[in-house]
Symmetry: C2
Subunit: 274 residues, 2 copies
């Protein structure tokens, strides 16, 4: 089954437009799905965000983001759990298909990666009943290993799927090509994710050579070295038939260009490269 087309993660045009402008621009370009970030929704207002998304008939392929569970103390961990419950409420209001989790890295001062990983599992378990209650599944996004220290201590798809196995239903994965393309076990783990019905979202962009910044130098599809057709095929073979969501953080390039140029380029590359 072919994918349903391109979704735009609104971080891709966060420097150009507010949420309402971005949704309207996507609609103007014929794009039928978006994934907003919490700060964008907060800036535009939750009710207004839900309305503009609904008025344009947009599918919401995810809501970015929950997670950030590890903390140096118990109060911090409880605050993170509360915050994730609020994120789930917002996601439900927006009609999002999942809450994307950037699970968090090491607490400040800690070098205990195994401990942080356990905090993630415990935090997700605490949040999961609320996810079920509001009908929004949790999508673990395994992040590239270069973020293990400060952003996410879940760093491979296999590790994320092990966590899904531990937590049970209503948990899945958001597979971002940027984070997983290097993994020698990728094909096997995507197949496993499909068998287990765990694929909740598929994100695309490209890995630039050279990459000049660990966070904000992601590339447009086709400008880097990721074999996006091959990974897209693995994803479709695994039974995922949803949108392909473009998400590009690019401080020195795409964030500086007109939003319409960015969206037009995303569509053109999605059609010709992916």
């Amino acid at each position: 089954m072919p994918n349903q087309g391109l979704s735009v993660n609104l971080a891709t045009v966060r420097q150009q437009w507010n949420l309402g402008e971005a949704v309207a621009a996507c609609a103007r370009h014929g794009i039928r799905a978006v994934d907003p970030w919490r700060d964008q929704v907060a800036g535009y207002g939750l009710a207004d965000s839900a309305k503009v998304i609904r008025d344009h008939g947009m599918t919401v392929t995810g809501y970015c983001r929950g997670g950030m569970f590890p903390s140096a103390d118990r109060d911090g961990r409880l605050a993170a759990i509360d915050d994730n419950r609020r994120a789930l409420d917002e996601a439900a209001t927006l009609g999002a298909q999942c809450l994307v989790l950037v699970v968090g890295g090491l607490p400040p001062g800690s070098r205990d990666l195994a401990g942080a990983r356990e905090m993630v599992a415990e935090g997700m378990a605490a949040v999961l009943p609320h996810a079920r209650a509001v009908g929004v599944p949790l999508a673990i996004e395994p992040l590239h290993p270069m973020y293990a220290g400060d952003r996410a201590c879940v760093n491979t798809l296999g590790q994320a799927l092990d966590l899904c196995d531990r937590l049970g239903p209503d948990v899945g994965v958001a597979i971002d090509a940027y984070h997983v393309w290097w993994d020698p076990d990728l094909a096997a783990q995507i197949a496993r994710a499909g068998r287990d019905k765990r694929i909740l979202a598929y994100h695309i962009c490209d890995w630039l050579v050279p990459t000049r910044d660990l966070l904000l130098d992601r590339g447009m599809m086709g400008d880097g070295v990721i074999d996006l057709p091959a990974i897209g095929q693995m994803i479709e073979n695994a039974g995922y038939a949803g949108f392909h969501e473009v998400e590009i953080f690019s401080a020195e390039n795409w964030w500086k260009r007109p939003g319409d140029e960015v969206l037009a380029t995303c569509l053109e590359r999605f059609a010709t490269v992916c």
Copy 2:
């Protein structure tokens, strides 16, 4: 069995000293082992490098570096194999315990990571008879996944050990904490490496948060988030009783400080942090 002490990878002081000066400085600080780079040896002369190392009674814990096998064409791959044979000859002249391999990333214009990985296996197989002839084993250094595109398409210890299994004796791994610390499978794979007698070298430095450059912003032990005592314990439990080799690329910090300060700090941190 305790480790044999600190070895200094001479890239750590490459901006401060030539090879002869660096070896003499290490000896002055009571350091008994070094790992030189090919360009440092070429700059000082192979015979002179071997002599200064011998005169100071230094163990050579490795020679950096061979590898870079993938190429867009057959001529390029054959040239890489020839170059690795020359590197092995140099390593033998220097008395190095292994030739460290940074295996290479994608050939220019390619997105075929599986193909690049196959070129690595084939290149190593072609070089291996010469490694055996000169008595210098090949040490695959799995590099952090952020280097998969341009430097090394072997990105986990497990993947490197699979390659060892395929190639047979006289191949092993150089385990660098910087490259592998994030790996959820690290403890199991270090234990496997020990069982299989594949650990040829152990490198240390630290992962800084934030990391400002993908290549040249490595940290001094203790300044980052790697749990070096835990990984060092895994390495020793796996039966490795060799030197711990410090290797720091640090364009904006350690490369700008006096070499004696760098060496003194390495020794102090090795004693107190690792």
